[in-house]
């Protein structure tokens, strides 16, 4: 623990990242460039999110880390251990007890509260990237609010699949101004972005960008008048806790076509089971 500065990064780096975060909060949805550091983990494992978390952490914080909603997968466990070792902060798996939640690709089912910070890991922060490869041009498009191209992507979806087939990283417009990539969260989670009581921060390490959605900010998912946005999930209940309104993972359980659907948010599911809810394949607690 003494071998590292608090939360791994040196104070000047954290200061630089905090400046980027403040700028991001001041201009919701705007991608702020920052001098991303090499982190002791590969790109794609949340180097951006880890740097944002490190810059936000104070010794009193309680940290929760989730990966696709789960607290117990490799990415979540390794990042949680990383901060336990380098910052010595308390950790939790309970959403309501956490003051900072670093997440990969999910928003917790339990509504967040004021004072909580949700940190997203972002692989590609530029929502226009796959349509317009030039960075100079996409910056200009953001600057001038030329977002027609984003609808071309949705048009292509409908033309090819009969509906908007984009199921994750669904583009949103923040506070009527910037179009933003909400990181690869399922579009089921998009409505939770809007008007959230928590501060939402997005860090992209490889692409060196930080952006933010302050609390109680309006976030609208883009759509067509005759093909409105629809938050979708698997048409099942959780097989362990019976929840009908949570986002589900499909799990193959044998090689004879057997499968089950379980909450992707493990903490949400565990709390429900502890409270006595039982699903189709669950056992009473």
């Amino acid at each position: 623990m003494e071998d590292y500065n608090f939360a791994y990064l040196d104070e000047q780096t954290k200061r630089m990242i905090r400046r980027a975060i403040l700028k991001g909060v001041a201009v919701p949805g705007y991608q702020v460039p920052f001098a991303s550091r090499e982190m002791p983990m590969p790109y794609g494992w949340g180097t951006g999110g880890v740097q944002v978390t490190a810059a936000c952490l104070v010794p009193e914080d309680v940290l929760k880390v989730i990966d696709q909603g789960a607290d117990d997968t490799t990415n979540a466990v390794s990042i949680r251990k990383f901060f336990q070792r380098t910052a010595g902060v308390a950790v939790t798996e309970t959403t309501t007890q956490a003051s900072i939640i670093q997440t990969r690709h999910r928003i917790p089912e339990t509504p967040l509260t004021e004072g909580q910070i949700l940190v997203y890991q972002v692989p590609i922060p530029e929502p226009l990237r796959f349509l317009e490869p030039r960075e100079t041009e996409t910056r200009k498009m953001h600057e001038l609010e030329e977002y027609g191209l984003m609808h071309v992507k949705l048009y292509e979806d409908i033309a090819r699949h009969g509906q908007i087939a984009t199921a994750y990283a669904y583009p949103v417009k923040v506070e009527g101004r910037y179009v933003m990539d909400p990181s690869p969260i399922p579009k089921f989670d998009n409505p939770k972005l809007s008007g959230s009581a928590a501060l939402q921060l997005f860090g992209a390490g490889r692409e060196q960008r930080i952006y933010a959605v302050p609390p109680y900010t309006q976030v609208v998912s883009l759509d067509f008048d005759d093909h409105p946005f629809k938050a979708s999930k698997a048409a099942h209940d959780c097989d362990l806790c019976g929840a009908a309104e949570s986002y589900l993972d499909e799990v193959i359980i044998d090689d004879a076509g057997g499968r089950m659907f379980v909450c992707s948010d493990t903490d949400f599911c565990a709390h429900r089971r502890a409270a006595g809810h039982v699903g189709r394949l669950g056992e009473a607690a």
């Binding site: 349509l131 001038l144 030329e146 027609g148 191209l149 609808h151 071309v152 048009y155 292509e156 409908i158 033309a159 090819r160 067509f224 008048d225 005759d226 093909h227």
Partner: protein, 260 residues
């Protein structure tokens, strides 16, 4: 389209562009009236593409002014802010590139290509966008069942027609064309010219066409400007210039055309 035919749609005065010590185009002045098609001819390196790029706002000229009759009144496009100029470029103006690959999004279906300008000016109804796209594909003689194919599956002539549809869908008033028939074989060229002539007349478009093909301007252009070494050496009515060339270079150009 906007009533008064006696006010020029585009008025260019003393336009010059230098590439360091070399001349791109020098001291070009002309007026373009609504519904008129102006041809610019000249050999390679004569500055016609530079001139077109300056007019369309792709290049910044060194001196001169370009007054465009916007809906709100005459404005110098060179002193406009960039958002204004870009808005103009996707509403009142259109630019047809010589190579359709420069003007199309090759990874997006034909319908998406046509719909892009509509969506850029705020169309948000999928059914309407698609209906308009089908209508425009029909107008440029592309079958409606090709709407979901990508341009890479199209022939060169179809790509060029798709590019034209994509540009004209928002009803621009001024179209810039850079060698629209370059790279197409003669029979496809003839069909494309026929189509262009029909669209220009039907929509009352004004157009500026840069080409080195005198047959193209003979068919499409009302007036002609002949350029050499960055200067305009002769301008006038197309038939007049082509049938009775006054300047030595124009005479050379006209006599260089092979008679089959």
């Amino acid at each position: 389209m906007d009533g008064s035919l006696d006010v020029p749609l585009l008025s260019v005065r003393g336009l010059s562009k230098f590439y360091g010590p070399r001349i791109g185009c020098a001291d070009v002045s002309f007026d373009l009236y609504p519904g008129e098609v102006l041809g610019i001819v000249g050999e390679s390196g004569s500055g016609k593409s530079t001139l077109l790029s300056c007019l369309a706002g792709h290049l910044a000229p060194d001196t001169g002014e370009i007054i465009f009759q916007t809906i709100q009144g005459p404005r110098d496009t060179l002193t406009m802010t960039e958002p204004e100029r870009r808005r103009l470029a996707r509403t009142d103006w259109a630019f047809v590139h010589q190579n359709p690959r420069d003007g199309l999004r090759m990874g997006v279906s034909a319908g998406g290509n046509v719909g892009e300008r509509l969506m850029a000016v705020g169309a948000r109804h999928y059914g309407d966008i698609r209906a308009t796209a089908i209508d425009w594909l029909g107008r440029v003689e592309i079958a409606a069942d090709r709407i979901d194919d990508r341009p890479s599956a199209f022939s060169g002539g179809m790509q060029q027609r798709l590019q034209i549809a994509r540009n004209l869908v928002t009803g621009p008033r001024l179209v810039f064309m850079d060698e629209p028939t370059g790279g197409l074989d003669v029979s496809v060229q003839a069909r494309l010219l026929d189509l262009l002539r029909g669209l220009v007349r039907e929509m009352g478009l004004s157009a500026i066409i840069v080409t080195h093909d005198l047959a193209v301007v003979r068919l499409l252009a009302d007036r002609l400007m002949v350029m050499k070494s960055g200067h305009v050496v002769e301008q006038g009515l197309t038939d007049q210039v082509l049938d009775d060339p006054q300047h030595g270079y124009t005479q050379l150009l006209v006599s260089s055309v092979l008679q089959v």
